[in-house]
Symmetry: C2
Subunit: 479 residues, 2 copies
Amino acid sequence: MAKEKKLVEQITSMEVDFAKWYTDVVKNAGLIDYTSVKGCMVIKPAGYALWENIQKELDRRFKETGVENVYLPMFIPESLLQKEKDHVEGFAPEVAWVTHGGLQPLQERLCVRPTSETLFCDFYKNEIQSYRDLPKVYNQWCSVVRWEKETRPFLRSREFLWQEGHTAHATEEEAEERTVQMLNVYADFCEEELAIPVIRGKKTDKEKFAGANSTYTIEALMHDGKALQSGTSHNFGDGFAQAFGIQFLDRDNQLKYVHQTSWGVSTRIIGAIIMVHGDDSGLVLPPRIAPVQVMVVPIRQDAEGVMEAAEKLTASISAVARAGIDRTDKSPGYKFAEAEIRGIPLRVEIGPKDAEQGKCVLVRRDTREKREVSLETAAAEVEKELQKMQAEMFERAKKHRDSHIFDAHNMDELKDIAENHPGFIRGMWCGETACEEKIKEELAVTSRCEPFHDKEQIAQTCVCCGKPAKKLIYWGKAY
Amino acid sequence: MAKEKKLVEQITSMEVDFAKWYTDVVKNAGLIDYTSVKGCMVIKPAGYALWENIQKELDRRFKETGVENVYLPMFIPESLLQKEKDHVEGFAPEVAWVTHGGLQPLQERLCVRPTSETLFCDFYKNEIQSYRDLPKVYNQWCSVVRWEKETRPFLRSREFLWQEGHTAHATEEEAEERTVQMLNVYADFCEEELAIPVIRGKKTDKEKFAGANSTYTIEALMHDGKALQSGTSHNFGDGFAQAFGIQFLDRDNQLKYVHQTSWGVSTRIIGAIIMVHGDDSGLVLPPRIAPVQVMVVPIRQDAEGVMEAAEKLTASISAVARAGIDRTDKSPGYKFAEAEIRGIPLRVEIGPKDAEQGKCVLVRRDTREKREVSLETAAAEVEKELQKMQAEMFERAKKHRDSHIFDAHNMDELKDIAENHPGFIRGMWCGETACEEKIKEELAVTSRCEPFHDKEQIAQTCVCCGKPAKKLIYWGKAY
C-alpha cells in the first residue's frame, strides 16, 4: 500500500504550482527521463510512442500534398552557416561546435544543425538547373541542437526531434501558397488529431524566423493561460537563393532565383498535449493520438472466469482500438491510478460479477464518467466512446481557450489583463517594433500573431502608443 | 536525343570497374548526392523511401518480439565514454568532438554518439532497481557519427542512419537468447524482404565489437565476390553493468549485475541491395522493398484512348501494388531507361494498339522478360509476377553465393582463391589471432564468421599454421 499511496502523491496540483505539475506529469507518465547530458532528455517508450503516432499522421498528411522525405547531414561547415547574414546572426550564438574529428583538429569547424536551411540551399544549388526541376518539396525527420541555457522537457531542450520541410519554387506566389498550405496542415493536424484548437496567424517582423520574409504560426493556449507556439512556416522569398546562388532557367529562357519556404513541428507539441488536456491525476491523451487507447483492467483475477472474459474482451476491443490488458498482480486501485497517470483514454473494468452477468464498465479518463455495457456490444461502445471523447476534448479545450481571450484598448487594460487574467489578449497595434518591445519589457507579454481569421478592429489606436492602429494582434505570455 | 544517350552512358559496366559501377548506380538512381560536408551524403527521395520501407518492416518485426522504441541524446560526455575500457579504446579514435556550446567553451567535451552503449548504461542505471524492471528491450532509430578517413556512399560514411537495440536482462541465458534472436530477425528480414541470402555466424575475438563478449553477424556476398557485414548483434555479459554499476535486486534478494546486448542494422544495407541485385543498367529492387513496384508507361500519349486506358490500368494495379504512371513528355525509350536505372521491379507498357485490343505488356526489371496480359487480368498478373520475381531474385542470389564458396586447406590454396576466385573461402582455423593477422596481412582476407549452420570439418589442420584446427571459418575480402 505504501507504493500505491506514493503513486497518487507524486503529482503536484496544477493550482499549487503549474510548472511543478508539468514536470511531475512528464516524469510520472513515463514520458521522459533526465540524463547525464545536461539539457538533453531520454524520451522513454510512452513518450516516443506518442511521437511515433504524431510522425505517422503528420507524414501521411505531408505526403498527400506531394512532400518527399530526404536526409541531409547533421553538420554545417561554419562558412556555409555564414552565407545568409540574418540567419547566422539568429543561430550562431546558440549552436554546438565540433572542432575535432578523431584525434585531429578540423580545418574548419562544423556546427551541429540548429535547422537546415543552409544545407538545403547547398543541396538545391546542385539539384536545380531548370524550371523542370521545380518545385522541390522535401522534408526530413531528424534531431537538431540549440544550446539553450534554461531547459524544460519537450518545451526547451538542447537537442530535440522535429521535422523540417524545405521547398523551392519557380514563383513567389507558389512559395507563398506552400507556406500557408503547410501552416494549415499543422493547424488541421492539431485540431483533428490532438484536439488542440489553434490560432493561425502571421508573426510580426520582430518575432519572425532569422532570414525569413514572413513567418506564419499556430498558437495554442495552455491550461495556465500561457501561449505555446506549436508549429511555424516561413517564406524566405529569394533571399537565401541570392545568398547561395540557386538559379534556374525558366520557360522564358531567363535565369531566375528560386523562392523558398521552410516549416517545422517538433516534440514541443507533446508539451502542448500535456498542458492543454492534462489534469491533477496526470496525462489525458486524445484518443486519436494515444498509443494505448483502451486498458482493460481485470478485477480479482483469481476469481473464476474473470481472466478468460477479460482476455476475450480485450481481443474483441483490439479489432476497433489500440487496446491492452493489465495482467500484473497490482491492486485494482493501483492499476486505475497508473492508467490515469499515463492518460489512457478509456479504462474497461471487469470483475467476477461482471463476467458472470456478461458486462463490463467503461470509464472515461477525461470526465471519469462510468457506464455499464454488455460484453457483446463493448467493442462497438468503445469505438463510439473514443470518437465522442475526441470531439468533446476539442470542444472543452476550445471553450477554455475562447473564454480566455480578452480585449485591451490601452496600456492600463493590457497591464491589468497580463497580471490578472491569463490568456490571449487582443489589442490593436501601430506596426512599430518599439511598441512591441515596450510591451514585452514592461509586461512580459509578446505579440503572438496577427490572426488570419480575426480581422476585427476593436479600436482605432495602438494599445501601446495611442497612434493610429494598423492591425489587430493577439498578445500573450508564452512558453 | 542527346539527353537520352547520356542516360544510358552514365553507368560504367561492372566488369570494367566495379567500384565505379557502384557509385554510378548510386548517383544515377537518385539515391544520394554528395555535399559540402566532407564524408557525409544527402539521402535523396529514392534512397530515403527505400530506407523508410526497411525501417517500417524491421520495426514491425522488432515490435513483434517485444521491442519498445526510445530516443537518447546524441551527445556523450567524455567521462561517460571512458567508463568501459575496451569500448573507449575502440571508438575514441574515430569520434567527432563538440567543444563549444554557443559562444562558450564546454567544461567537458562531448562526443557525437558513434554508438550508444554508454548512454543506455547511464539510463538503465536509474531505470533498473528490481527484477520486476527487467527485461528492458529498447531500440532507437537515429544517426551516428564515425570519423572515417575513406568514405563511400552507404558503405562507409561519417554520418549514417541506423537502429541500435539495447537490452538488459536478469540472466546470462536470457541475454544470449536475445542476441541470437535479433540476429535471426535480421537474417530473416534480409532473406525474405531484400532477397539477400546471408551466412549467420559468430565473429572471432579479433573481429568482435569493442566491449562485447561475443558478436554475431550476418554476411552477404556481393556481385564482385566481396563480403558485406549486413547486421550484427552483441552479447556484453555483465561487463558494461560492472563498469556502470547497473544492479538489480533479484527474487532471491541478492543484488546482481544485469546482462546486456546490443544489435544494429544501418543504411549500409542499401549498399548490399545494390551490389547483390544491381546490373549494368542500374538498380534492381526486390519487389517487397521497392518504393515503387510498378511503373506504367503510356506509349504515344497523344493517341486516342491511350492515357485513359493507362490511368485506368494504374488505378487497378494500385489496389495490389505500389504503382506509378509516367506522364512526362519524354520518349518511351527514355522512360524505360529511367525506370530501369531506378530499379523499378515491373514496367507496364501500353500503346494505342494495346489500348484498342484491351491488353498491355509486363516487363520484368531483372530478367527483362516481356509478356502480354489483358487489361482485365493485369492487376492479378502483376501481383503474381511480383511474388515470383521476389522468389527468383532470392534464388538467383543464393545460387551466385553458393557457387562462390571455395575450400582452402593451406596457405597456397588460400592465396590462389583470394587472388583468382572472389567469394567466401571455407578454411579450418586453430583459434590463434596470430593466424588471422597473418592471413589478413598477406592476403587482405579477413575472418568473416564461424557459421552457425555449417560445422563441416573440411580438414584436421589450420589453414594457416598447420596446427590442429578447432573450427571452420568463412574467410573473405570484405567491404
